[in-house]
């Protein structure tokens, strides 16, 4: 699934704290199938999350989001999360999400401008996230073109395939 970085994302916020680990995002040791995972993602921190999350919602979190094992946020996309906006992300989680073109944005200060349940606008072309109700905004980190290309292609496996075909055809 390719992700268009130029699209404005607007959604209701689920707000989490610091150092949310991948065991709670993706507890696949306990729930090995995607159907089960969808029923249990994030419940370690918010038991109501799997039941109440709606397509288009935005996940906001503090520092070090996705620490722990190497597991992408695919389940978050599956339950409808439209964007993940965090103070900082753990390097491996960030990398995992870029590689699968799952929209994730670093926005230092984000937890100071939105509360749980607020509406948030994520405007990557203008590299800003704003709370339309209060007018407060924070800057998003701009990705280098190398990463923008991966989002555009729909993930690194697509980039790999394009390159492989181009090289094989030579």
């Amino acid at each position: 699934m390719s992700f268009d970085l130029n699209r404005l994302i607007r959604g209701r916020v689920w707000k989490f704290g610091d150092s949310i680990d991948t065991d709670s995002i993706n507890p696949y040791y306990l729930y090995p199938t995607m159907e089960e995972l969808k029923k249990h993602t994030m419940e370690a921190y918010r038991p109501e999350f799997p039941k109440e999350v709606k397509p288009g919602d935005i996940l906001v979190a503090g520092r070090n989001f996705g620490c722990g094992s190497s597991r992408p946020g695919l389940v978050l996309r599956e339950v409808g999360i439209a964007a993940i906006v965090v103070e900082t992300a753990s390097r491996l989680f960030l990398r995992n999400n870029i590689a699968r073109a799952i929209p994730i944005f670093m926005a230092p200060g984000i937890t100071g401008i939105v509360n749980d349940g607020d509406v948030l606008e994520v405007d990557y072309p203008k590299v800003v996230a704003r709370n339309p109700a209060t007018g407060a905004s924070v800057a998003l980190r701009k990705f280098p073109s190398l990463i923008e290309r991966i989002f555009k292609a729909g993930g690194l496996p697509h980039v790999a395939r394009e390159r492989y075909i181009a090289e094989a055809g030579r």
């Binding site: 065991d23 370690a44 900082t88 491996l92 995992n96 496996p157 697509h158 492989y164």
Partner: protein
């Protein structure tokens, strides 16, 4: 050292600085039991009919069927079989299959990586090889798919953080206490996306086992690399394990560091991480008296010879408290065999501990699940909620000596109170 490492491996040959993005050539790639996914399922999903068409170098891809050996369920047996099939199809030479153990320990045991190399792996604790002066780190399955095909990958050059460890090594391992102490003091992401370089007067006294514990835990404090200098101990360890030449990484005299942290271990107390976060750390004295149901030593952080040796030495002539399940899992067959030959396993069994097959089982909810309300103290990597099954169980992390002391006392205690001979 990270700038040097990535400059040397940069495809364009240019020198790079912290913050730059590069595409670099890799020296080795480690895949664990999940190899079937980047080799078959994911490529198939993205249009490579029949799976990945090749690997870039059959000698530089290492596949180790770890985590679930022997297979713990039908599903895992089937997944392991798929990994076997893909490895054969792709002609991968370096394959460790019918052998239980944790991939990261086996990579070191079998001398698959060398100082100065850039190595990627399909697991967050790939960073462990930094103990051997390797720039190694974990990647996602999609990144690994790309690296398997081309032997190249994109990297952002991390800034470096210097961690200076001074003091004397006591006659028991303290690596776990060091990293927990630092996580507690500076926050559990204090090395977030940075490259840790270990130095200081303690470093030359640290065994390779202790260095591997510190490097493995680099990922718990957010690091991308966690690199030790290559010294006599490194070379001794590699002797007989690899005959390929290597060129160690060394820091430049004028190297720039984003941060410097100094720790004098002589004044460091025994510490534990309280439930749910690695950085939720306090001196063990703050939590003494908490009753434990299970104690564990193992994982890619603490399943090494010295961790098992200290448990055995401390248990000699003592008994595990009634009702406490003390579970020990060596990190690999080599570690296990040495522990058996040296009589450690006999001592552990006599004292009432359980020794289980090498592997990842006790680090995950696979072997030794916890029930609601139970307390576990563990020398393993992680204490996230639900890591051992129940969301209502408490997991404390501590060093192997602290864990053994709790197993003997049946509650968390300061090891000095139980083992006055140490």
């Amino acid at each position: 050292m990270a700038e040097k490492l990535l400059s040397q491996h940069n495809l364009t040959g240019e020198t790079v600085k912290a913050g730059d993005f590069v595409e670099a050539r890799i020296d080795g790639l480690m895949c664990h039991y999940h190899a079937w996914d980047p080799m078959y399922d994911m490529p198939a999903e993205f249009g490579f009919t029949g799976g990945l068409p090749r690997v870039w170098d059959r000698e530089r891809v290492f596949v180790l069927v770890d985590h679930h050996q022997p297979a713990l369920s039908q599903k895992l047996a089937d997944e392991n079989a798929r990994t076997r099939r893909e490895v054969n199809r792709l002609g991968i030479k370096c394959f460790y299959d019918a052998e239980p153990g944790i991939a990261h320990q086996m990579v070191a045991d079998y001398g698959l990586v060398r100082p100065g190399e850039l190595v990627v792996g399909l697991d967050s604790h790939t960073i462990s090889y930094g103990a051997l002066n390797v720039g190694s780190t974990g990647f996602s399955r999609a990144d690994i798919l790309y690296a398997l095909l081309f032997g190249e990958l994109w990297f952002q050059v991390p800034p470096s953080i210097k961690v200076i460890l001074n003091g004397y090594q006591p006659n028991y391992p303290i690596a776990k206490d060091i990293i927990l102490y630092l996580a507690g003091k500076y926050g559990e992401d204090f090395a977030g996306s940075m490259s840790i370089e270990y130095s200081g007067s303690l470093v030359s006294q640290l065994s390779i086992d202790s260095r591997m514990c510190l490097s493995a835990h680099g990922v718990e404090v957010g690091a991308k690399y966690a690199i030790f200098p290559c010294d006599g101990k490194t070379r001794d360890f590699l002797k007989g394990r690899t005959d390929k030449p290597y060129e160690p990484l060394t820091p430049d005299a004028n190297a720039v560091y984003e941060k410097e942290i100094t720790l004098d271990v002589d004044n460091m107390p025994f510490v534990v991480a309280k439930p749910n976060q690695f950085g939720n750390v306090c001196p063990v004295n703050d939590v003494v008296g908490i009753k434990v149901d299970q104690a564990q030593i193992g994982s890619c952080a603490n399943g090494r010879y010295e961790d098992i040796e200290i448990a055995a030495r401390a248990l000699k002539g003592r008994r595990v408290a009634k009702g406490v399940r003390f579970i020990i899992s060596p990190a690999s067959q080599q570690v296990y065999l040495r522990s058996v030959k040296d009589g450690l396993v006999e001592t552990l069994l006599e004292a009432g501990a359980q020794v289980v097959t090498p592997g990842c089982g006790i680090c995950q909810p696979k072997v030794g699940f916890l029930s609601d309300g139970e307390v576990c103290i563990s020398a393993t990597t992680r204490n996230y909620k639900g890591r051992k099954g129940s969301l209502n169980a408490d997991i404390y992390l501590g060093g192997p000596l602290t864990v053994t002391a709790a197993a003997v006392a049946g509650k968390i205690v300061n090891p000095k109170e139980v083992f006055n001979e140490l």
